[in-house]
């Protein structure tokens, strides 16, 4: 509106001045042209008069004769005047319209012209009378009032035309101004869109980086510190999945508002994408960051009411300080991220960057990069650890365990690379590889005459994989394995994490004939109701309880309770981590069904397993072996071929 008002006033002023100038020129020209016109008329008239006069007075060219001749010529507006060569004027005395001074001037100046005096314009034309020494002047005295009447006729159309022009000009200008404003608003909007997050209207990554750069320069110049916070909401995906994206969006907007509320005007908050935010804290000491973070977490953790749902959300926050941790923007951003992930992993609200964190995450980065090629490069292999029936001593199955021999880092345990695979979407190729290798080896064992089962570990991520069933069936079909020979080991936490969905998956796997075993039992928070409902055939007591059961009374109680619980629910109980004969005997006394551990066999490659089976195959499952643990070796379920 400001621009429009200015333009409006400007245009009105400009056109008024222009039209006044135009009007003046028009007026002046009109007066000029009317005088010219008069002059022409007087010239014609005087031509005729002088000729007539000359012919009439002919031989007596004297003043009296001329005067008397001229008395015949009478006009209310035209005055006749005669003057001699010596400028002696003699005129009709009755004609008083023209003052003496004007006559004097006419007698001494140009033959044609005009003069204005006392509101009257005198237009004249003088012509010598042929054959005499006299000159005749015709003077038309025009009252200026008369000129106005003429001009009034001209003025009305001019004024109206001018008004219409001004009117059109004003609206054209207003229209152009509106158009310009619209374009500039559009430009601003686009610029805003490019720099801000559409959902929360917070600055986006681009603007945040720009601001960070500026903040770093300022801090550098003023020799102060600044902190960069990386914030990630915990369990946001769950809220999105269960309450819908709309709720998730509202939650993000609310979080954005709270973050802005908790900061000083000089600080800057940005949404980097998803549930990730970043904050630039200008002019802070490293020691103050913690207090600010505490304030922010308190704000975030306050209950949020979104569409009638009371939501509790928490965040993991990581911080990096300029210039203490880094003087480079990219590195600073990376460090804040590293700290944030460390906080998330450690289940704490806040972590500040330190070089140790970096080491862990660098390794993670290397592993996740290399893991992608590990399958093709043949760096992965599967080892097998046998499980025995404690009562009979017979080998009833083996568990397939994945191993990764990294070209530079050496052997990397699954506890290190499986979480990375889960995070980076590499779980499916890994599961595929293990299934293929293990079931192929199961086939080789079966070809050698050993009928045994193969236990495969499935991660929580695999349970969410919609292709899981087809993966399992394809592998089983490829190597001719019966689903009943395949035991799927799923950790307690994986099952309980997404209880409802896991239940469906497990039920459909159960229907297909696969056996299901609950791994690491005792470390999670199983609901007993679910335990009863889940289609599981086996409980595997976590190794930590078994390993310490002889020395720790509580662990022994837990093992005994799990065994009793399993049996009461009609499930077999497997004890992992059996490392000594005494433990094995204790387990036998408690009535545990199956044992697995270093005491029986370490996880070994297939060839070693095959040899191991060969040397320990003098017992069959049918053979009622006495108490297990004979140093000579372990019975085997199948007869050698």
């Amino acid at each position: 509106m400001h621009l429009r008002l200015k333009l409006f006033l400007g245009i009105v002023l400009f056109f008024t001045i222009a039209l006044c100038f135009f009007g003046y020129i028009a007026y002046d020209s009109a007066v000029e042209s009317s005088i010219k016109q008069e002059n022409i008329l007087l010239k014609d008239l005087s031509g005729g008069l002088t000729n007539d006069l000359a012919s009439d007075i002919g031989t007596q060219p004297n003043e009296v004769a001329i005067k008397s001749w001229l008395t015949h010529f009478k006009s209310p507006q035209i005055t006749t005047m005669v003057f001699s060569d010596d400028h002696q004027i003699f005129s009709d005395k009755e004609q008083k319209q023209v003052p003496q001074g004007v006559m004097q001037q006419i007698a001494t100046s140009e033959p044609s012209g005009s003069i204005s005096m006392q509101q009257v314009v005198y237009i004249w034309h003088s012509r010598p009378i042929p054959g005499t020494r006299y000159t005749l002047s015709l003077i038309h005295s025009q009252n200026q009032q008369d000129a106005r009447t003429f001009l009034n006729a001209l003025a009305m159309p001019l004024i109206f035309a001018a008004l219409i022009i001004i009117w059109v000009a004003i609206w054209t200008t207003m229209f152009i101004a509106a158009l310009l404003e619209k374009l500039s608003a559009q430009k601003d909007k686009l610029q805003h869109q490019a720099m801000h997050d559409a959902l929360t209207s917070l600055p986006n990554r681009t603007l945040m980086q720009d601001r960070l750069q500026v903040a770093m320069h300022t801090a550098d110049r003023q020799r102060t510190e600044l902190a960069l916070l990386a914030i990630d909401l915990n369990r946001f995906k769950e809220i999105n999945d269960t309450l819908g994206h709309h709720c998730g969006d509202l939650l993000l907007i609310e979080v954005a508002k709270r973050l802005e509320l908790g900061l000083r005007k000089s600080d800057s908050v940005a949404r980097l994408g998803g549930d990730e935010f970043a904050i630039i804290l200008n002019h802070v000491e490293a020691e103050d960051v913690k207090a600010i973070v505490e304030k922010l977490t308190r704000l975030i953790e306050e209950v949020m009411e979104i569409e009638g749902n009371k939501l509790f959300i928490s965040a993991s926050i990581g911080s990096a300080i300029f210039p203490t941790h880094s003087r480079e923007m990219d590195t600073l951003l990376q460090y804040a991220d590293v700290a944030m992930y460390a906080a998330k992993k450690a289940c704490v609200k806040y972590a500040s960057y330190s070089a140790d964190l970096e080491e862990g995450s660098r390794e993670k980065l290397i592993l996740s990069n290399d893991l992608r090629n590990a399958v093709q490069a043949g760096q992965l292999s599967v080892n097998y650890q046998p499980k025995i029936n404690i009562r009979t001593g017979a080998v009833i199955g083996t568990e397939a365990l994945i191993r990764w021999k990294h070209p530079t880092l050496g052997f990397v345990g699954p506890d290190r690379f499986i979480p990375i695979a889960e995070q980076t979407g590499l779980m499916r190729p890994l599961t595929e590889f293990v299934l293929d290798t293990a079931l192929q080896d199961l086939r080789r064992l079966s070809d050698q005459g050993y009928t045994t089962s193969m236990a495969i570990n499935l991660s929580a991520v695999s349970l969410q994989d919609p292709e899981l069933e087809s993966l399992l069936l394809n592998a089983a079909g490829k190597w001719g394995a019966q689903p009943s020979q395949v035991v799927l080991e799923i950790t307690e936490t994986a099952v309980m994490d997404k209880t409802v969905h896991a239940m469906e998956v497990l039920q459909s796997l159960d229907k297909l004939g696969f056996k299901i075993s609950m791994d690491d039992f005792g470390t999670g928070y199983s609901s007993l109701v679910n335990l009863r409902r889940l289609p599981i055939q086996e409980l595997k007591v976590d190794r930590t309880f078994v390993m310490n059961m002889l020395t720790n009374e509580e662990d022994a109680t837990i093992v005994r309770t799990i065994i009793d619980l399993g049996h009461s629910l009609g499930k077999k109980v497997v004890a992992e981590g059996v490392e000594s004969e005494t433990v094995l005997q204790a387990l036998a006394e408690l009535g545990c069904d199956i044992a697995q551990g270093y005491h029986i066999s370490r996880p070994v490659p297939f060839e070693t397993l095959a040899n191991w089976l060969k040397t320990n195959s003098h017992h069959t499952q049918a053979d009622p072996a006495p108490a297990p643990g004979l140093a000579s070796g372990w019975p085997i379920a199948a007869k050698p071929s």
């Binding site: 159309p157 509106a178 619209k182």
Partner: protein
């Protein structure tokens, strides 16, 4: 059909101006003694009467102005 953007006072002013212009433009053409200008003034009058009749000024609309009592309509966007 059209969004109202003229206040009744605005309409009244337009009707008066319109009638005046139509009189000067089409009825007593001697006032402006110029046919082209008379016709333009007459057309201007007709446009004003028309705008007053439908309570909508297309130019106001283009510019985003409104003399209607609802203030929210007065500002573009």
């Amino acid at each position: 059909m059209f969004k109202r953007n003229l206040h009744n006072l605005d309409r009244l002013a337009r009707v008066i101006i319109g009638i005046g212009c139509i009189y000067v433009g089409f009825v007593d053409t001697s006032i402006i003694s110029n046919n082209v200008v008379s016709m333009l003034v007459g057309i201007f009058g007709v446009v004003n009467i028309f705008a007053a009749a439908i309570s909508h000024c297309p130019v106001y609309n283009l510019v985003g102005l409104s003399t209607c009592s609802t203030k929210s309509e007065a500002k573009p966007e």
